[in-house]
């Protein structure tokens, strides 16, 4: 197990390296140079020259890459071209918003999806099962931005309720923060819930058909013990894999939802960076989000190894 953990951690190093090279290379493909983009038409040749030297753009590409990565490893993602502020502290501030949204969204989706998935499996082909299947199919088919708009519209037209504007951090005012976050998290959760529901249902159905469940029932265990103690534990393994894979959809969904609900998260920072042609910001944010994504996948993989003792990782 320990060897597996170490090997798995070592495995992400080439991926991280590849990701950073890809991001760097793609940023270099941008037509027109970054400096002209930042200065617009007004920049004089001297100013342009000064900025080129300041950002190290006069050096060869591999030197630029190494400088960038060395900076990143020290928590220095460079400065924004627009505000001249360092990018990293801003990114961390915004990451707390995205993280809160993602975690709340994930929790909401589990609370909705896992019990419903179990119910559907234990009541196969009954009313509740049909409801869950339709609900799950709708859930996978509705894009997060469409659901956000429907929810906002519905609340506004029917209850004249408008989601409070302006963001307040959890540590400043937890109540107000949750008021602001609940609606976006709910939307995010629902759009993820569909596939977890399907996976819970099918993996539960599969486990319930196995011989050991018959044995458990035959020895007289109650239905509750059978389901929760014996079946669920086994059914959880594919569910956890799926949950890990969905972190990407959650983070991606968060990018869009932040935009709709005007939450100052990483996704919004990335999009603003793109719209303002603030390339160091885009570069930093994309790298950071990819890093988080890889890290969470690593954690799910390790969790998976921990929960499923049948698999040996040698």
């Amino acid at each position: 197990m320990r060897n597996y953990v170490i090997r798995r951690i070592l495995q992400i190093i080439p991926v991280l390296l590849g990701v950073s090279i890809l991001i760097f290379a793609v940023m270099k493909l941008i037509p027109g140079d970054v400096i002209s983009g930042a200065l617009g038409v007004e920049g004089s040749p001297e100013l342009r020259q000064a900025l080129t030297v300041k950002y190290g753009l006069d050096k060869p590409y591999h030197v630029q890459y190494i400088n960038w990565i060395l900076g990143v490893l020290h928590g220095d993602f460079g400065d924004s071209l627009r505000t001249s502020e360092p990018i990293f502290p801003e990114m961390m501030r915004r990451f707390s918003v995205t993280a809160e949204l993602t975690i709340l969204g994930a929790l909401i989706s589990w609370i909705i999806a896992i019990p419903l998935g179990i119910l559907a499996a234990t009541h196969r082909n009954k009313g509740i099962d049909r409801f869950v299947r339709v609900f799950a199919l709708m859930g996978v088919s509705i894009p997060s931005f469409a659901l956000s708009i429907l929810v906002i519209l519905f609340l506004a037209l029917v209850f004249s309720y408008f989601s409070p504007l302006g963001y307040v951090s959890f540590f400043e005012n937890p109540v107000k923060n949750l008021q602001i976050m609940i609606l976006p998290s709910f939307v995010l959760g629902i759009t993820i819930a569909g596939s977890i529901m399907r996976m819970t249902r099918s993996s539960m159905l599969e486990v319930l058909q196995q011989d050991f469940i018959k044995t458990v029932r035959a020895k007289g265990a109650s239905e509750r013990i059978t389901i929760f103690k014996h079946a669920l534990r086994n059914a959880f393994i594919p569910i956890i894999t799926l949950i890990g894979m969905q972190i990407g959809s959650l983070l991606g969904g968060a990018v869009i939802i932040e935009q709709i609900f005007s939450l100052p998260g990483l996704g919004q920072m990335t999009l603003t960076g793109i719209n303002q042609r603030d390339y160091p910001v885009v570069q930093g944010c994309v790298l950071f989000i990819a890093f988080i994504y890889i890290l969470v996948n690593l954690i799910t993989d390790l969790l998976y190894a921990y929960i499923d003792p049948r698999i040996s990782y040698n």
């Binding site: 037509p31 931005f145 099918s202 994309v286 994504y293």
Partner: protein, 278 residues
């Protein structure tokens, strides 16, 4: 291996398969005959702004007085076009890379899969956004971006089935009597990839359409005045309380389109790959 006709027959027998097939067919008809079915040009102002749905303007009009029904029809064209072409890009590149990686294994396999792992290390919408940030906006670049994002799933699917097909006895036999690599790949190994490949392609279509809508909604995909459901929604957001029809109809069509592709993909999977039946 089931023949095309048998797959079709089984698909029609399944009620969900029927819904999916008919839905997709209707959608294609809507898109192809959009110029005939539309009442007005999608970009022309034909009435007062924000007219509610009525007999003349079935879905109402938008903030510029353009007919929403006509825009929805032309939007179906954009959605399908982007979906088909981007999945076409992803599927053909993914197929070739998957066959190469699966058949030759060794170093080339490791290189291909390493690149795929790198592409997989991004949330897909983020990667698509990042690529368009570099390529620029507009319909072609959106297709390329969504195409690139979808390559890895095809490589993985094809590679896995090539590796399992390589072990099959008849493939071994063909190899031992001296069938050359290329005919062996095309005639004996590739057919084994068709089932998972088709299922993957259908599901990729629905996710490509979803990604296009999301990107256009964010203002990074199809640019106004081109009618895309996503960009229609993003324009409509500011007026949605006064003119809810401006958001309701695009949402309805986005959801229905993704839904029918998902339904078709699910029942196709049940028919082609009964092992995976859920």
């Amino acid at each position: 291996m089931k023949g095309l006709r048998q797959v079709f027959r089984e698909l029609v027998k399944d009620p969900m398969g029927r819904i999916g097939l008919i839905g997709v067919l209707l959608l294609i008809l809507l898109a192809v005959f959009a110029p005939l079915l539309a009442h007005y040009s999608p970009e022309k102002m034909v009435s007062m702004p924000k007219a509610a749905p009525n007999q003349q303007f079935w879905f109402g009009t938008d903030n510029y007085g353009r007919d929403i029904y006509s825009r929805i029809l032309y939007g179906a064209r954009v959605s399908l076009e982007v979906g088909l072409i981007s999945v076409g890009i992803a599927a053909s590149i993914g197929f070739i890379l998957g066959i190469i990686a699966g058949y030759f294994e060794g170093r080339i396999d490791r290189i291909i899969m390493c690149i795929m792992d790198i592409l997989f290390a991004f949330p897909s919408i983020l990667l698509a956004i990042f690529i368009t940030a570099v390529l620029g906006r507009g319909i072609e670049n959106t297709m390329i971006a969504i195409g690139i994002v979808n390559i890895p799933v095809f490589v993985r699917t094809v590679r896995a089935s090539v590796i399992s097909a390589k072990g099959l006895e008849y493939v071994q036999n063909a190899k031992s009597i001296g069938v050359k690599t290329f005919p062996l790949l095309m005639r004996h190994i590739a057919p084994n990839t068709i089932a998972p490949f088709t299922v993957q392609a259908t599901l990729a279509l629905s996710s490509a359409i979803l990604t296009e809508a999301s990107m256009s909604f964010l203002g990074l995909g199809i640019q106004p005045p081109d009618p895309s459901w996503g960009s229609m929604l993003s324009e409509a957001r500011a007026f949605m309380e006064q003119a809810p029809w401006m958001v309701i109809f695009p949402i309805l069509f986005i959801v229905i389109t993704i839904l029918i592709f998902n339904i078709l993909g699910d029942s196709l999977r049940d028919v082609l790959d009964p092992k995976l039946k859920t």
